[in-house]
């Protein structure tokens, strides 16, 4: 272990954590503003200019509330659960490359060679926070939320995993930095034909890639409990679902976990399908630290756009019914993702080298 590596890693971790927490608090603000604009309202605009200090006010409000524990709750697991909900969502971001290089240091905390599996494995642990929270509250609505959450996560993790396999069939490597490098050379996966307009195989490849993107995006919605699939917390049916009994900072942690999961999900989507930190015409960080900074800015801008899509969808679509959700997951997305893999494998086997 050399000291340079340790110090740069610590710096990266600290700054990335700060950025993520900052983004979480402003994602809450953005969610409220976006929802308001979509519903022809104004949203929070009182605290600070255009309401920009609202997250700070929210934080103080949540900190000062009474931290209430129901008498019949299982105290240890009740306190443990919110932490379990937050930690996986934040850990996952470690393997996502958020920039090219800055002063020769690669802008990724841990460039492990099983990148995408790391993301799936750790984010699948996030369900424990919800399940344990619902169970430890010892109350019927949180419990129903927890049960729904566990079944939903299991169903959609399959489609999530299968949907990205085409990407890795093309890249031939599970490392997320290689995915970005591949996209820089061959065009973003969302539009595989870019840069090679004359090649009919590229156009053929674009079809399964877009299917893959759609399935992955929908599965991410289900994974992060966002609105068409927010059955675990369904306010109208379950009075808030798994977090009904929580208050004060514990509730805030659940909130933080949900938004952190959303940000991580967006970052993964950007890395896999939107070319990560790459923007056509901008070189990477080896050509100067200015470009390194621009790459980072490009990445976070893309993440912000995907987060906006998350919010936009949330305030457009109604919630699925429970049986519809399960039927969609098992009888529809699973099959589509599976067939999609064969499509891409066929194109790779019989087509020219892409």
């Amino acid at each position: 272990m050399d000291w340079f590596f340790i110090i740069t890693s610590l710096l990266k971790i600290t700054i990335l954590l700060g950025v993520i927490l900052f983004m979480v608090s402003y994602a809450v603000y953005a969610e409220r503003r976006v929802s308001a604009f979509i519903q022809d309202r104004l949203g929070p605009n009182r605290v600070g200019p255009a309401g920009l200090l609202q997250p700070i006010a929210d934080m103080f409000k949540l900190l000062l509330k009474e931290d209430f524990t129901p008498r019949s709750a299982n105290t240890f697991y009740y306190s443990l659960a919110p932490g379990l909900a937050v930690a996986p969502a934040i850990i996952t971001i470690a393997v996502v490359p958020f920039g090219s290089t800055l002063f020769g240091v690669p802008m990724v905390v841990a460039d492990v060679n099983v990148g995408i599996f790391f993301v799936f494995a750790i984010s699948s642990l996030g369900v424990y926070g919800i399940v344990i929270g619902g169970w430890a509250s010892n109350s019927k609505y949180p419990f129903l939320g927890a049960i729904r959450s566990s079944a939903q996560m299991l169903s959609y993790e399959l489609s999530l995993g299968l949907a990205v396999i085409p990407v890795f069939l093309l890249v031939g490597n599970l490392r997320l930095t290689s995915v970005v490098r591949y996209q820089i050379e061959h065009g973003w996966f969302i539009a595989a034909f870019v840069g090679d307009w004359m090649n009919p195989w590229k156009w053929l490849l674009a079809i399964p890639m877009i299917i893959s993107f759609l399935v992955f995006m929908i599965a991410i919605f289900a994974e992060t409990n966002r609105l068409p699939f927010d059955l675990p917390e369904a306010e109208q049916e379950l009075a808030g679902g798994y977090n009904t009994e929580y208050s004060s900072m514990k509730f805030a942690l659940y909130f933080l976990g949900e938004y952190a999961a959303m940000i991580t999900g967006s970052a993964v989507v950007v890395t896999l399908f939107f070319g990560g930190w790459h923007f056509p015409g901008i070189p990477d960080g080896y050509h100067g630290w200015v470009f390194g900074l621009i790459n980072i800015a490009v990445f976070f801008t893309k993440v912000a756009v995907v987060i906006f899509v998350f919010m936009w969808v949330r305030w457009t679509l109604p919630r699925f019914r429970w049986d519809q959700l399960m039927r969609l997951g098992w009888l529809f997305f699973f099959e589509i993702a599976l067939v999609n893999i064969f499509l891409v494998a066929g194109i790779l086997a019989y087509g020219p080298r892409l």
């Binding site: 697991y77 699948s124 424990y128 399940v131 169970w135 996560m153 299991l154």
Partner: protein, 167 residues
Amino acid sequence: MSPFLFWLFASLTLIFGAAVVLNPNPVASALSLVASFLGLSALFMSLDAFFIGIIQVLVYAGAVMVLFLFIIMLLDLRAEERRRINWLAAAGGFGVAVILLVQICVVIVHFQAAKQTFPPLARPTSADVWNIGQLLFMNYNLPFQVIGVLVLVATVGVVLLSRREPR
């Protein structure tokens, strides 16, 4: 790899493994098992076997144990917590464990290859996943396919068993 990390993760795995058996509360047992899996996967990763380590988390901690919890939470836990420990059975189980430990120790003492230190692991030249794919689809293709058929048969069997009888 630092011996400190090895001892940390090994002891975590063992402590939580013991907690699985000793906890009166089934949910707590299941969560201890998850923690034990995490320790095990950390041990795999410290041996540079990232793929196995992460699959351990993804499959066992992320999917199988969630299913377990799902079932356990639907049970009546109060009855389980009131259960008395059968001391005779506990003593028997402990005895078997001690015998196994003694056996392992004896075998290791007589194991010649363990006398000298192992050479350091060769750095892998290709990615884990590529190696595993090579092994599964080139060297062990037939057993792999046969296992697939077996699992399919088991799935069909489960569907058949859990299907409601038509009236």
